[in-house]
């Protein structure tokens, strides 16, 4: 599938600030075998005094922009053309959940793909007893790690209600889980906490999801939003798989990956700190436009 992606993020501050600095993770990257980026452009308004593009620890494109003089609003625009390829279905060669530990221990590296980064608590996700108990109840003895991931993702999709009013970006997973409500971020965080709780390394993926307009209606411009889903490590043989608990499916052709990390703090689209007091407002508009529109899949839920 070929997509044109357009994203606009605008935010403004009540009080203007000098030396504002933002860390932007919006540029998609090539992922061998899955994703190829044909073009990508990130523009910022007002024009930044500094801009530096680099890769972060996890291999994500990280763009630093900084303004020296005081500014009170910023607009970031991404334009990208990305090809997404189908990943062939493979046999389930993952070890049983209870034996995954041995596979993990055999990986003696600290590279970004190593499962060790994705096990215990990370800045925004810490396994909590309710999620661990939930996952444990779903995983029957002898179940493979891959089956375990599917079982937890599927069950969460069944038990959680999509509700864009129930949570905010700051809501901790335990609280969203107690409500059994939330958006893609909550689904994803809860699933990560649950999987880590039973020893399955798992991380956070930010990106885009192709959405489908209601039957008979045109696609609304800017109606989409960024999406989040789960990445889990199911043994040396298979490695990482990506599952979207919000839509109960593997992240396939309808998905475009932007960044991988342990949790939202590693992949946040914009990180920046204000020196001045006062609040700020932000607005986000996303378009994911398929260029070769022949496949028709079931409609999927986006985030808020």
């Amino acid at each position: 599938m070929l997509y044109d992606i357009r994203l606009l993020i605008e935010y403004s501050y009540a009080v203007s600030s000098d030396h504002l600095r933002n860390l932007v993770r919006l540029l998609p990257c090539d992922i061998p075998g899955r994703q190829r980026v044909l073009s990508r452009h990130l523009t910022v308004e007002p024009a930044a005094d500094e801009r530096r593009d680099a890769l972060d620890f996890f291999g994500n494109a990280m763009t630093t922009v900084a303004w020296h003089a005081p500014i009170d609003s910023v607009a970031l625009q991404l334009m990208a053309r990305v090809e997404r390829r189908a990943v062939p279905q493979r046999l389930d060669l993952s070890p049983p959940v209870e034996l995954l530990e041995e596979d993990i221990a055999s990986v003696q590296t600290l590279g970004p793909e190593a499962p060790h980064h994705y096990r215990g608590a990370s800045p925004r996700i810490r396994p909590f007893p309710e999620a661990t108990a939930y996952a444990r109840a779903l995983i029957r003895p002898g179940m493979t790690a891959l089956q375990g991931v599917e079982a937890v993702g599927r069950a969460l999709n069944r038990d959680m209600k999509f509700d864009s009013k129930a949570t905010t970006v700051e809501t901790p997973p335990a609280e969203a889980f107690a409500k059994r409500r939330g958006v893609c971020q909550d689904f994803t965080q809860i699933m990560i906490a649950a999987l880590r709780g039973v020893g399955i390394p798992s991380g956070y993926v930010s990106g885009f999801l192709r959405t489908f307009p209601p039957p008979g209606q045109p696609r609304l411009e800017g109606a989409d939003a960024m999406h989040a889903w789960v990445r889990a490590w199911v043994g040396k043989e298979i490695g990482w798989i990506e599952f979207d608990p919000t839509n109960d499916q593997y992240a396939g052709l309808d998905y475009v990956t932007v960044a991988y990390g342990r949790d939202y703090s590693d992949v946040a689209p914009v990180r920046g700190v204000m020196r001045t007091a006062g609040g700020h407002e932000s607005r986000q508009a996303v378009d994911v436009i398929p260029l070769d529109d022949e496949e028709q899949l079931a409609p999927a839920q986006g985030s808020e």
Binding site: D56, I104, H117, R119
Partner: protein, 805 residues
């Protein structure tokens, strides 16, 4: 204590010094013979009478109290400061033994650097199985943004501390490595100053190695690293988390001692990969930060995003090689307790040599055989978090000691180890040596053995690791020599490294020849200027309030009628500022003094110890008066006491503070505040509607009664009062006087002229000055005074915009 007891030499009391079997002692060796290095000290000390000892110890305490040395717990209440717990008898080590220790620690420092370089570089130790990947990846101290970053100057570690202890067999071992932001070096200096007061004689003084050489060498190394090879003028500074931190006092002390800027995260900005300090002259580049904040908080953009004390972009300045951090971000990983289990083998692996000084025996419970070993030997171990970075005797959440949990835990230790093995370590429950400590001082005092550890400091210099010839000893509060007895509540002692011969007497004064040293006294960070400016304003505001409260209570005493018109007007006037005059000491007064003290606390490195003591004294006195003062005469007298105290502070500042930018901002704050309060006073009490007697009161509040009598020799009238308090260029309590002062101070600030033209502040003040020079009292009516107040507020805003952010 009886007279006889007071005169008794303490010799007898040393005789009661009882050693613990199976525990080494600093004073006596294993055979019970006094170690030679202590002999001369003990000879002298035991000839003193108890009275002499008490006097000497009190001299040391006095020094510390006067110097403002205190210890504080993490808390928001600055008054929760504890007296510095000095154990007056030093720990004495012979220079040969000390050299042996340093040889071991030098080897260890190189090992730590090598492990650090590998963990943030090639990762061979993990790949080859010498360090478990999950331990490193699971630690919050391993900072991913640092992976692949080469530190400026090539080294990660520059300043280290080692906590060491002595085993029962007399040999030394390492309890913990401090690599993140080691504290205590400044306290070691203060301890030395205090013991210098206690034992001033030529012996022992001439035989004790000095500490200054260490600091001098380290400062030179830091300045060198800051400057770098590019030849750019970059400064070295100290980065502190701020006054909330429990060792903030030490940060201010070291900054003053070394003449370095003390910065907080918000003092810095990053521009084009270069860290800069915001100063009143504009941004100035910084090439090195001796950081006392934990690495994760240093940059909210790339590290912990919840940090409020960091600088966005600091990581970028590090990455681009423009900024050195002492120590590099991420060095906290070396403090992780589990590392101790792997260092001995890594040492042999990397250097072919075993560790000269062993570290406390440690087993990581991630491996099956280690787990089994710890389970079998749990009764002689401390078991706790593998990821903890505190010292073995600072107990974390769940710890088991000698086979028992220290907190309530339902599981058995065996179950616990089995379930959470990968996150646990077992450490040998070591015994420490004991050292003489003076105990029961209230009962005359005696010497008893107490367990101790010693913290030793190392600094990297171009010629290798340089060790402080001395240290910082922690003394346990009970005789129990188990390391765990060292947890909070003990005391600290000076460490003497003693030579058989007199030693060279170096100081921190620059050598006659040699490197040129830039002075940083001329650089004033904008935040320091801001705090000094507001300190000036708050102090003036407080003094003004004290005088008004006094005027009120004097009249209350005279009239005994709270409904007197003047009293009512004064009450309403003060009510606007939050002062409740129905109370003899209005609570708002304490708020104002606390605000002043809060500003002063943030600039303690630029501030005399006496000035700080004077402010504290003012606050304490006012608080004490709150419970005792009665309305009327008593309160008026109390206010007179406070007036004298606060003018004492002003005098200290005026007489002692170097006339540099910092002093100018403090003075500017005072001048603006005084001009404003005089305008407010006149607008209220020289108004034609003011009740009778108000004019006299205004003159009294403005402390100008005598001048007024001498100059006018007539009845007080509105004209005489306005003439004296608004238009007199020679009366420090006149608006014109203060306006002129503001203009002079503003002229001396940086950038006061731009391309030959006056800067906005001077342009705003000049017309006011001209006007007040030529006007008659009748022309300065209430409306003019009120307008003046908003003009002054505008000038204050201009000062803020130009210099204070």
């Amino acid at each position: 204590m009886t007279e006889a007891a007071r005169k008794k030499p303490v010799q007898d009391i040393f005789a009661e010094y009882r050693l613990t079997p199976g525990v080494a002692d600093e004073l006596f060796d294993a055979q019970g013979h006094m170690r030679p290095v202590w002999r001369r000290f003990v000879d002298r000390f035991s000839r003193l009478t108890q009275e002499e000892i008490a006097t000497r110890f009190e001299r040391g305490n006095l020094y510390l109290r006067d110097a403002g040395v205190f210890y504080r717990q993490y808390s928001n209440d600055p008054l929760q400061e504890r007296e510095w717990p000095l154990s007056h008898i030093p720990v004495i080590l012979h220079e040969e033994e000390w050299a042996h220790i340093c040889a071991g620690l030098s080897q260890r420092a190189d090992l730590l650097e090598a492990v650090m370089a590998d963990l943030y570089g090639p990762g061979d130790l993990v790949r080859d199985g010498h360090l478990p990947a999950e331990l490193i990846a699971g630690s919050q101290q391993w900072l991913r943004p640092m992976v692949g970053v080469t530190p400026r100057g090539g080294h990660y570690l520059h300043f280290l501390a080692f906590e060491i202890g002595r085993s029962p067999d007399g040999s030394w071992f390492v309890l913990g490595d401090r690599t993140q932001a080691p504290s205590g070096a400044g306290f070691a200096l203060e301890n030395r100053m205090a013991t210098g007061r206690i034992f001033p004689e030529r012996f022992p003084r001439a035989h004790i190695h000095r500490l200054a050489g260490f600091f001098g060498a380290f400062r030179t190394a830091m300045e060198h690293l800051a400057r770098g090879s590019a030849g750019r003028d970059r400064y070295a500074a100290i980065l502190t988390p701020g006054p909330q931190n429990d060792t903030y006092y030490e940060h201010t002390y070291i900054a003053r001692y070394l003449g370095m800027m003390l910065l907080e995260g918000e003092d810095l900005l990053v521009e084009n990969g270069e860290a800069m300090v915001r100063t009143i002259q504009g941004p100035i580049p910084v090439g090195l930060l001796w950081r006392r904040i934990d690495a994760a908080f240093a940059d909210p953009l790339e590290l912990d995003s919840s940090s409020r004390i960091g600088t966005p972009g600091l990581m970028e300045a590090v990455r681009q090689g423009n900024l050195a951090l002492v120590n590099a971000l991420g060095s906290g990983i070396l403090e992780m307790r589990a590392m101790m289990a792997f260092f001995p083998r890594i040492s042999e692996l990397l250097t072919g040599q075993p560790l000269i000084l062993p570290n406390i025996a440690t087993w990581w419970c991630g491996g099956e055989s280690q787990r089994a070993y710890v389970r079998r030997n749990a009764d002689r171990m401390m078991i706790g978090s593998a990821y903890a970075v505190d010292l073995p005797f600072d107990i974390g959440s769940t710890t088991a000691l000698g086979g028992n949990f220290l907190n309530s835990e339902k599981r058995s230790i065996a179950e616990w180890i089995e379930a959470e093995g990968t996150s646990l370590v077992g450490q040998e429950a070591v015994s420490l040596s004991t050292t003489p400590a003076w105990v029961d001082a209230e009962d005359g005092g005696r010497v008893e053995p107490r367990p101790m550890t010693v913290r030793i400091f190392a600094a990297r210099t171009p010629s290798g690791w340089h060790f402080m010839k001395g240290g910082y000893a922690r003394i346990g509060k009970s005789g129990d020599a188990m390391a765990l007895a060292m947890q909070r509540g003990g005391s600290v002692a000076d460490v003497w490294v003693v030579s058989d011969k007199p030693v060279p007497q170096d100081t921190l004064a620059p050598p006659e020849t040699g490197d040129f040293r830039r002075s940083t006294t001329g650089i004033l960070p904008a935040r320091s200027a801001d705090n000094l400016y507001w300190l000036g304003r708050y102090v003036e505001r407080t003094e003004d309030a004290i005088r008004l409260i006094r005027a009120y209570n004097l009249r209350l005493a005279q009239t005994d009628n709270p409904n007197d018109a003047r009293l009512r007007r004064l009450r309403d006037f003060m009510d606007n500022y939050g002062y409740d005059l129905s109370r003899p000491i209005p609570p708002a007064l304490i708020d104002r003094i606390e605000a002043a003290r809060g500003c002063a606390a943030k600039v303690r490195d630029r501030f005399s110890t006496d000035g700080w003591a004077a402010l504290n004294d003012l606050l304490k006195t006012t608080r004490r008066m709150t419970s005792t003062a009665q309305p009327g005469d008593d309160a008026a007298r109390a206010m007179s006491v406070l007036v004298r105290k606060i003018t004492g502070f002003s005098g200290l500042v005026h007489e002692n503070m170097y006339r540099f930018s910092g002093w100018r901002f403090l003075s500017l704050g005072r001048a603006l505040e005084r001009a404003d309060s005089l305008a407010a006073l006149l607008a209220e009490f020289a108004d034609p509607d003011a009740p009778q007697g108000s004019l006299d009161m205004a003159v009294e509040v403005a402390d100008s009664v005598i001048t007024h009598q001498r100059r006018y020799r007539v009845e007080t009238s509105r004209n005489t009062v306005v003439d004296l308090l608004a238009l007199d260029a020679d009366n420090p309590r006149a608006i014109l006087f203060q306006i002129q002062r503001i203009r002079q101070l503003a002229d001396d600030l940086p950038h006061s002229r731009v391309n030959g033209r006056l800067a906005p502040i001077s342009r705003a003040i000049l017309p006011i000055e001209a006007e007040f020079c030529v006007r008659d009292p009748v022309e300065i009516d209430t409306a003019r005074l009120i307008a003046l107040r908003s003009e002054l507020a505008h000038i204050s805003d201009l000062v803020g915009a130009a210099y204070l952010r």
